[in-house]
C-alpha cells in the first residue's frame, strides 16, 4: 500500500489543531511542548473561544509560543506572565486569559508573581510545563531539577545540600485559598495527552465560570537538555520525574485531594 493511501484526512486520529499556525515549531524533535501547545489550541478551538482568548507567552523555550498559536498573544518578561495576565484579566474580565510557562520562568525567577497571582485568585489559566531544566539556554539546573540529576550547572548532579531540593511549586500553590483547580499531567503518550486535554478544558471552563486560578502542570521531557534520545527521555521521565511529581488532581473545586 502506498503512503499516500494511508495519509488521508479520514484516517487521521490526531492532527494539528486549526488554531496552530503553519510556522515550523522551534522545539527539538521529541519535545513535549508541541503536544502541549496543540492540546491547548484544540481546547480553545473546540470551546469556540479563540476570538475571546488572550495568551501570555513566557521567556524560555516557549517564548515563541505566539508564533505557533493563532490567537492574540503578548510576550512577558522572564517570570512575569502571571502579573501580565492579572492586569489583562482585571481589565477584560469577560476574556479568557492564560499563561504558558516553563519551570525556570514560573518556579524560579517568577516565583513571587506566580504565588501572588494565585493567592489573589486571578481568573486565569496557568499552563506550567515542567521538564526539570532550562532548555532554551542549553540545559542548566532548574528549580525542579531532580536530586542527582546532571545539568550544565550541576555537572556532578544536583546536590541538595548546596543546591536545595527540587521545588514542588504546584503543591505549594495548591494550598492557597485563591486557587480553585490544580492538577498534574503528562503528554508523552496518547492516553496521557487525552487526560491532559480534559484538564485544560476544565481549566478554561473554570474561567468561564469565574472560578479563579486553574493551574495545570505538565511534566514533560527535554531530550536535548537531558542528553537522551526522545524515547530514553520519556522512559527516564516515567521512572524518575513521575515519582517525585506524581500525576493526578491535587485540588478540585477549591478542595485539596487527600
Amino acid at each position: 500500500m502506498e503512503v499516500s493511501n494511508i495519509i488521508k484526512a479520514e484516517n487521521q486520529v490526531f492532527c494539528k489543531s486549526k488554531l496552530m499556525t503553519d510556522t515550523a515549531l522551534s522545539y527539538c524533535p521529541g519535545c513535549g511542548h508541541g503536544t502541549a501547545h496543540n492540546l491547548t489550541m484544540e481546547v480553545i478551538d473546540e470551546m469556540g473561544i479563540s476570538e475571546e482568548t488572550i495568551g501570555v507567552a513566557p521567556v524560555g523555550c516557549s517564548v515563541l509560543a505566539y508564533d505557533f498559536m493563532n490567537i492574540d498573544m503578548t510576550q512577558a518578561a522572564h517570570g512575569r506572565a502571571p502579573a501580565v495576565a492579572t492586569a489583562i484579566s482585571r481589565l477584560w474580565p469577560e476574556k479568557y486569559v492564560f499563561t504558558y510557562q516553563g519551570d525556570g520562568d514560573l518556579a524560579a525567577i517568577g516565583t513571587a508573581e506566580t504565588i501572588h497571582a494565585c493567592n489573589r485568585g486571578e481568573n486565569i489559566v496557568i499552563i506550567f510545563v515542567n521538564n526539570g531544566i532550562y532548555g532554551m539556554t542549553g540545559g542548566q539546573m532548574a528549580p525542579t531539577t531532580l536530586e542527582g540529576m546532571k545539568s550544565s550547572t550541576s555537572p556532578y548532579g544536583r546536590d541538595i545540600e548546596t543546591m536545595g531540593s527540587p521545588l514542588k511549586i504546584t503543591e505549594l500553590i495548591a494550598n492557597l485559598p485563591g486557587v480553585y483547580y490544580v492538577t498534574r499531567h503528562a503528554v508523552h503518550t496518547h492516553k496521557h495527552a487525552r487526560k491532559a486535554k480534559k484538564a485544560i478544558q476544565k481549566a478554561f471552563e473554570n474561567t468561564r465560570l469565574k472560578k479563579g486560578i486553574s493551574f495545570i502542570e505538565i511534566v514533560s521531557n527535554c531530550n536535548s537538555g537531558w542528553k537522551m534520545t526522545p524515547l530514553e527521555s520519556n522512559i527516564w521521565m516515567e521512572e524518575n520525574m513521575f515519582p517525585y511529581f506524581p500525576l493526578g488532581d491535587i485540588k478540585v473545586g477549591g478542595i485539596l485531594k487527600k
Binding site: S50, E51, E52, T53, I54, V56, A57, V63, L64, Y66, N70, I71, D72, M73, T74, Q75, A76, A77, R80, A83, V84, A85, T86, A87, I88, R90, L91, W92, K95, A112, E113, I115, H116
Partner: protein, 377 residues
C-alpha cells in the same frame, strides 16, 4: 461637581492621583514606597472602581506592578504605575520591555536620594537613569518634569497623550518635594474612560483584545532575526526624532536681557526662580531656562542662549548630572558649572545666587571652566 473644573488645596501626589481618575485612566498598579505612597493611598480611598470603573491594584512588588502595566498596555488600556527611586530601579526591566514592545504607558517617579536605600528626602539624582536609558537596550523615555502641584495634575493627561501618540512609555519625573508639598490646584473635569468597543475600533490594529474579525495581534519585544531587530531599533529612533521636533517643552524666565543663565528643572527650577528674583534685585541680569521635558532636551534654546550669556549654572538636587547635557548643548561656547545639594538637603535661593556669583560671575569670564571637579557645596 467633577463634571467641572475644581480648585483644591492638595499634595502633589494626591493631585496626580486625582488627575489619573479624571483623565480616564483604566488601570493603576503600584507598590508602596516613600515619598509617593499617597498616590496609591488616595486612589484606594477614592474607590475609582465606583467613580469611573478604573482598576487599582496593589501589586506584590514594583516588578509585578510594571508588568501589570505591560499587560494592560498590551490590550490598549490606559495604564500607569508610580514609585520612587529604588522602586523605579526595579521597574527598569519592565520599562525596557514596554519601550521594546512599543507600548503606551505612564510611569511616575517621585525621586528620593540615592544610591541604594539612600534617603526618603527629595532628590534629583535619577536624571541619568531617566534620560540616558536606565534599562537595557537602545531606547529613550519621553520625560516630563513637573515643577508644581498643578503640573503634577496636568502632566498625567499630557503624558498619556504622548504615550499613545508614539506608542511609547512616558516618565513623569517628579521628586519628594513636589510630591509632598501642598499647593492650590485646578483639577480638570472628569473624562469618560474609553469603552472596549471604542478601544478596539481605535487600537485594533495592534492591541491584543481577542482576534475577533481580524488577524491575530502579537505584542513582543523579541526579534531573533537581526535585520528585523535593527528595523525595530530604527523605528524607535524615528519616534525619538519626532518627539524632538514636535513635543519639546521648556520655559524661559527673565532670559531676554540675561547676562547669566541658570538651568534647572522641577523643584530646583522653583527655587532657582526665587534666586533669579534675588539676583535681579541686586542688579545681576540673570535668567532661568526650565526644561519641562528632559527628553527631548532644549538643546537648541541653550545653544542660542550661549551666544547671549557669559556663563551658565546648572542647578540640580544631585552631584552633577544634567550639567553634562547643558555642556553638550552649548558646545563650550561659555563656562558651565554645576551647583547642587545631595542627601535630601534642599538648596536655598540664597545659596544658588551665591553659587552663581562665585562659580560663574567671578570666575566664569576668565577661562572656560578650568576645573569641573568638586562642584558640590
Amino acid at each position: 461637581m467633577r463634571s467641572m473644573t475644581e480648585l483644591k488645596l492638595m499634595k502633589g501626589n494626591e493631585a496626580l492621583a486625582e488627575a489619573a481618575i479624571r483623565a480616564g485612566v483604566d488601570g493603576y498598579f503600584g507598590y508602596p514606597i516613600t515619598p509617593q505612597t499617597e498616590i496609591i493611598e488616595y486612589l484606594m480611598t477614592e474607590r475609582p472602581e465606583k467613580r469611573t470603573g478604573m482598576v487599582v491594584l496593589q501589586a506584590e512588588s514594583e516588578i509585578a506592578a510594571i508588568n501589570m502595566v505591560y499587560g494592560a498596555a498590551s490590550t490598549g488600556k490606559k495604564a500607569m504605575t508610580s514609585s520612587s527611586s529604588p522602586g523605579i530601579s526595579l521597574k527598569l526591566e519592565g520599562i525596557s520591555y514596554l519601550a521594546g514592545a512599543e507600548l503606551p504607558a505612564v510611569i511616575v517617579n517621585v525621586v528620593r536620594g540615592g544610591p541604594g536605600l539612600g534617603t526618603i528626602q527629595p532628590s534629583q539624582a535619577d536624571y541619568f537613569q531617566s534620560v540616558k536609558g536606565g534599562g537595557h537596550g537602545d531606547y529613550k523615555l519621553y520625560v516630563l518634569a513637573p515643577a508644581s502641584v498643578q503640573e503634577m495634575s496636568d502632566f498625567v493627561e499630557d503624558a498619556f497623550d504622548i504615550a499613545f501618540k508614539y506608542r511609547a512609555p512616558v516618565l513623569i519625573l517628579s521628586d519628594g518635594l513636589i510630591g509632598q508639598m501642598m499647593e492650590k490646584v485646578i483639577l480638570k473635569p472628569q473624562k469618560q474612560r474609553m469603552t472596549n468597543e471604542e478601544l478596539i475600533e481605535k487600537y485594533g490594529d495592534w492591541a491584543v483584545t481577542g482576534r475577533k474579525g481580524r488577524e491575530r495581534n502579537i505584542i513582543t519585544s523579541l526579534d531573533l532575526k537581526s535585520e528585523k531587530m535593527e528595523a525595530r531599533v530604527h523605528r524607535l529612533m524615528k519616534k525619538y526624532e519626532q518627539m524632538e521636533k514636535e513635543d519639546l517643552r521648556f520655559e524661559k524666565i527673565n532670559c531676554d536681557d540675561a547676562e547669566y543663565l541658570i538651568v534647572a528643572y522641577g523643584s530646583s527650577a522653583r527655587i532657582s526662580q526665587k534666586a533669579v528674583q534675588l539676583g535681579r534685585a541686586k542688579g545681576i541680569k540673570v535668567g532661568l531656562l526650565r526644561p519641562i521635558t528632559l527628553f527631548p532636551y532644549p538643546k537648541q534654546a541653550l545653544f542660542e542662549l550661549a551666544d547671549q550669556v557669559k556663563g551658565i549654572l546648572s542647578v540640580e538636587l544631585n552631584a552633577g548630572q544634567m550639567v553634562e547635557d547643558v555642556r553638550l548643548s552649548v558646545e563650550h561656547k561659555v563656562p558651565v558649572e554645576h551647583f547642587g545639594r545631595t542627601g535630601g538637603i534642599i538648596h536655598t535661593p540664597e545659596e544658588i545666587l551665591e553659587a552663581l556669583e562665585q562659580k560663574i560671575i567671578k570666575n566664569g569670564s576668565i577661562k572656560h571652566h578650568k576645573s569641573r571637579e568638586s562642584s558640590i557645596l
